[in-house]
Amino acid sequence: MYYPYFRGKQFELITIREMATLMADNNFTPIIEPVREALGGLEKTLKAICSAGGRAIVIVNPHHGDHQEDGANISQLLKDGYSCHESIVAGILLRSDMNVEDVLTCYSSHADHHPVFIHAGFSAPKLLVADLASEMKNIKNVFIEDHAKLLYRKHFVSSDRVLVQDGFNRQRNADYPEIEEFSDLHVTYSDLGMSGFGDFLTVGDSYSESGGPAYAVALHLTFIDPDQDDMMYIYHFVSDTKDTPTDPAGKFGQALDKLIKKLNTKRSKLLETSAIKEFRELHAKGHFPGLGYVKKLSMKHHIETLAAYLG
């Protein structure tokens, strides 16, 4: 039912591995867009998903990162096989620069891997549906909300549909409000005729190869508010020091202080997840584990929060 969309950088892949069992138990299916040339981390991640009895969608024609010219190595990785062949499926991104023929070629070359369509800017839905005719009802269609609006999605009404919406409003770290709305799709997806929903976690859809030096450090943590019809909100705890690119550890300490202070009010509505426990431990030790690790905790907290709500 929940389809978190990950760009497969190091800490995204680690997050998926560490969450593999929880996601499998809750019927969550990560969508993974590989962005790094080396596929060892991806392979390890897929193995972890398989042994947890989970599922994943692996994008074979990434839009971002090292495989954007050619996804052949990803296709090969899928072909080389997994014991759980059925549960790791190929995701085909349908982008604005593709025509129906491109889509069909990619579809047939991955036919063994139960391809899923991920609509991300493609502009000929009618032709595609006509060409695939009866097969379409057996194909899962994932829509990236910004690129696939209601009228577009209507073409696929007979198939299994998933809506992915970027709830994360990316800004400069120094500019985040303390709290803002994240998404209500976890409540409303079935009303929209969808069998599932997704998001870009607490990272967002916008892709960057690497962060520059951080003038501010921000912790992004989501919560579901039962007093607001279960709407999901996000807190941004931002360091006070924002005018130099130095001392990320000290800035993390400042942001973490704000999180712990909010938790101690007992009115934060943040779920006491394993990630929150780890933030408490880091606060007690005064330890900064690195920005990638902090991003991992933020993603884990988000997944755990949705698992508790949907489970």
Binding site: T244, T246, A249, G250, F252, G253, K285, G286, H287, F288
Partner: protein
């Protein structure tokens, strides 16, 4: 003989070098060739590019026995920020120079204090000294120096000056180092800073690459990081004949 990619860069540089059109890169090249590699060498001196100093970034810093900053004011630049830049540099480096086009020299002289050196890149691409910079390490501000350095560099300066760094959690580390650092003697801090930076930002490993590149690309090679494994590919690329390069995609 057939022109190479390198020849094209040299030809472009010659166009850029004409007084009146020169940009920052021409000045950077002049300092790299005539001071860093002329007066000094890559084995004995080092250079920092875009080095943070207070709220500014220093164009070029040459480290030999002392640290000398060169602020470039080409004919394309304005002098609006100069007074503030110079103030910031004086808190970090013992010698501050402004190198300017002939058209800017008078403006620079009336903007900067008398301990700041003024140089001129002439129409004939010669550097002349209008006024010598004073070497005054005693005016540097340890707190400003600290903010310019990496944590490991600051730590080795503190240790070299005989202080012990207590073992604290890493979220507290920067604050603790800073407290120790701001108490140090400015002259000693400056001398140690020069020594540490010459080690941590050493350019000697680049000398082989620089020697193999055309003149026009040498200053770029000293400031733009190129992976070691790509050095040979870069050299090979600039040596390729132009018509072969036209077919590159």
């Amino acid at each position: 003989m057939q022109a190479s990619i390198g020849d094209v860069f040299d030809a472009a540089f010659d166009t850029l070098k004409v007084a009146g059109k020169r940009d920052e890169y021409v000045y950077r090249t002049a300092i790299s060739h005539k001071i860093l590699m002329g007066t000094h060498s890559l084995r004995t001196a080092s250079m920092l590019n875009e080095f943070r100093a207070g709220s500014c970034k220093a164009d070029l810093v040459v480290l030999n026995g002392t640290a000398t900053v060169y602020e470039i004011k080409s004919e394309r630049d304005s002098l609006v920020r100069l007074a503030n830049q110079v103030e910031n540099y004086k808190r970090v480096f013992a010698k501050v120079n402004v190198i300017a086009s002939e058209s800017h020299v008078n403006g620079v002289l009336s903007t900067v204090p008398s301990d700041v050196g003024v140089m001129c890149l002439s129409k004939r691409y010669q550097i002349s000294t209008v006024r010598e910079a004073l070497d005054s390490p005693e005016r540097v501000c340890p707190a400003s120096v600290f903010e310019s350095l990496r944590a490991a560099e600051a730590t080795s300066i503190i240790k070299a000056l005989g202080r012990t760094v207590p073992d604290v959690p890493n979220t507290r580390r920067h604050a603790v180092l800073r407290e120790l650092f701001i108490d140090l003697d400015p002259v000693s801090v400056h001398a140690e800073m020069v020594r540490v930076l010459k080690r941590t930002r050493n350019l000697a490993p680049l000398s082989e690459l620089v020697e193999q590149l055309p003149q026009s690309l040498q200053a770029a090679a000293l400031s733009i990081p190129v992976r070691r494994t790509d050095h040979d590919r870069l050299v090979e690329a600039v040596r390729s004949p132009l018509d072969a390069a036209m077919a590159w995609s």
